[in-house]
């Protein structure tokens, strides 16, 4: 069983003199929900388009579902919701899905059943006979989501799927991603809504000016648990002692900040401090939020664009 679904090496795309993606190197495993984060213009959409064969890379290489990037038959196993999704607005919701089902090789009764299921799933069954012209923005977006799922894909690219959706629509997207995960499908998610990414993704990569600069696992978040300690003695021997429990021990004014592998380490630290006769004024642990990560990785100087 192949476990790597997407692998890229120094994938690069240049439009004239504009470098959209300068060095994309990621490895995404089967069944993973992968978040792709970065400021506007960082090259997220261009990366997704390269992986789908919509944009030809300038250099570098990638395999997607075991085939070189751009391979046609593999695309039958993928789904894609583009950023700013739109389609011919004279088509009805059902016709729209039928066309895309056919493009994936679905026909006849199984296709119609699949369309009915999906329309019901995205709450568009009643509106299915109306042209997309009469759909609201969120309805169009949900039709696009159904389109991305019609071929029961193994790999789904969602480029800002919740843009234009109301809170209920966002819950729907989250549920759909959970359903994909339960099915063992892989999800590649571009999003600016970090709360949402935090709630759905297993792993994220930060992309900055077309380069993947940091990767972070959110599930078995090792480096992410930060401990703050206020003690009456913070000399170097104390700090050295603390290094047995944690890595990245820093003294920040009178506060010691350290990163630990798991929450179980916190009581051990407390016991050790007490054993050393060090008075504890405060000891707390918390997970660093994705937003804090984002700002740290991107640097405060990052301006959108």
């Amino acid at each position: 069983m192949m476990t790597t679904v997407i692998e890229t090496w120094a994938l690069r795309k240049q439009f004239g003199s504009t470098v959209a993606v300068s060095d994309l190197s990621v490895c995404i495993r089967r069944g993973e929900v992968f978040g792709f984060l970065g400021p506007n213009g960082a090259g997220k959409t261009t990366s997704v388009k390269m992986l789908l064969g919509l944009v030809e890379p300038t250099s570098g290489g990638a395999t997607v579902l075991g085939a070189p990037v751009g391979d046609r038959s593999c695309r039958a196993r993928m789904g894609f919701l583009p950023e700013h999704f739109r389609f011919h607005d004279s088509l009805t919701g059902r016709e729209f899905l039928r066309i895309h089902g056919r493009l994936l090789g679905l026909h006849g009764a199984p296709l119609e059943r699949r369309i009915d299921d999906l329309l019901a799933r995205v709450h568009l069954l009643e509106a299915a006979h109306r042209p997309l012209r009469q759909f609201s923005k969120g309805m169009v977006q949900r039709a696009g989501l159904a389109q991305a799922l019609i071929g029961e894909p193994e790999l789904v690219f969602l480029d800002e799927p919740t843009s234009g959706l109301d809170p209920l629509g966002r819950v729907l997207v989250r549920e759909l991603i959970e359903e994909l995960r339960a099915r063992g499908a892989t999800v590649f998610l571009n999003s600016h809504l970090l709360g949402e990414v935090e709630a759905t993704c297993d792993r994220v990569a930060f992309v900055k000016q077309g380069r993947t600069v940091h990767e972070l696992s959110l599930k078995e978040s090792t480096a992410a648990l930060e401990v703050e300690l206020k003690a009456d003695r913070t000399d170097s021997s104390t700090l050295n002692g603390l290094r047995n429990f944690a890595h990245d021990v820093r003294l920040d004014g009178s506060i010691v900040r350290l990163r630990v592998k798991s929450e179980n380490v916190v009581p051990e630290i407390a016991r050790w401090l007490v054993g050393q006769g060090i008075g504890i004024h405060g000891l707390g642990s918390r997970r660093k939020s994705l937003e804090e990560w984002f700002i740290e990785v991107m640097g405060e100087d990052q301006r959108p664009g």
């Binding site: 789908l52 064969g53 046609r72 593999c74 894609f80 389609f87 389109q147």
Partner: protein, 281 residues
């Protein structure tokens, strides 16, 4: 393995779109309006024109032939307009709006997208030619009893002429925005039209270099040459030789022009497909 019939699905989508945007209906209604105008003018000319017996039978036949040619001349313009306008925003519009992203991310060849669209427009244009030119000749016959000779070959040449323009308009849609593409494709026709006249004038005035320039232009843009060939084939040889009407070409393009036009269409489509394959969507 699921069978993906990309070409057919793109053709279905294109046809559905053309119908929904009332393009087919508009073409049909305007065509019928033209035929109505044509029929009524012929009818009134026939019944309230020159009293019978004042002109010879040959003269009368010639007059009717000229009227038919004039009608076909107008039909030609309508067909040219349709061939340019019908596909003008098809690819460029879908690329611009992002519609193409959902289509092209499916397991389908980009060539199938281009050719699928082309085929549907090709058939619509054929139907339009048969409706307009066929209807015109039929009305002529019903009203005046005049029978047009060699109609099928003339219609085939008109179709080929429109096919050249259709292919240029499709190919332009890959590289240019809609309006730019429209301007280029229409200019392509007008240049040929103008080149045709230069060639005519060159022949009539015995100016070899004007004739040469005209021939070169018709090689670059073979549309007008095809039309002139059609006009030449359709009229009685006697009439074509004396060049009494503006519809009798002084310089008749060689039949090799047909093969050149076919090669031209294939070449333009090949370029369109190649460019589209490289195009970032």
């Amino acid at each position: 393995m699921r069978r993906v019939d990309g070409l057919l699905t793109i053709a279905q989508l294109t046809w559905l779109e053309a119908r929904r945007r009332r393009i087919v209906l508009a073409g049909l209604l305007c065509g019928l309006a033209f035929l109505l105008v044509f029929a009524s003018s012929v009818y009134f000319a026939q019944h309230y024109g020159t009293p019978a017996g004042t002109v010879s039978l040959l003269q009368q036949q010639m007059q009717l032939q000229v009227v038919t040619l004039a009608g076909l001349y107008a039909v030609n313009f309508l067909v040219v307009a349709l061939a340019v306008m019908l596909p003008v925003d098809s690819l460029s519009g879908e690329i611009l709006s992002g519609v193409m992203q959902t289509i092209a991310s499916k397991p389908i060849r980009r060539a199938e997208i281009v050719i699928g669209k082309w085929l549907v427009y090709w058939v619509i244009i054929a139907a339009y030619i048969v409706l307009l030119a066929g209807g015109l000749v039929l009305l002529m016959r019903l009203i005046t009893g005049f029978t047009q000779q060699h109609l099928p070959v003339a219609l085939a040449l008109m179709w080929l002429e429109a096919t050249v323009l259709l292919s240029v308009s499709i190919a332009g849609g890959v590289c240019f925005t809609t309006v730019t593409n429209g301007i280029i494709a229409f200019s392509f026709y007008v240049v040929a039209f103008f080149g045709g006249w230069i060639e005519q004038i060159g022949v009539m005035m015995g100016n070899a270099s004007a004739r040469y320039v005209g021939t070169v232009i018709s090689l670059v843009s073979p549309t007008d040459a095809l039309w002139r060939l059609a006009m030449h084939l359709i009229q009685p040889p006697a009439m074509a030789q004396v060049q009494v009407t503006p519809f009798s070409p002084a310089s008749v393009p060689s039949a090799a022009m047909v093969w050149w036009a076919v090669a031209f269409v294939i070449g333009v489509l090949a370029i369109a497909v190649r460019r589209f394959q490289k195009r970032a969507l």
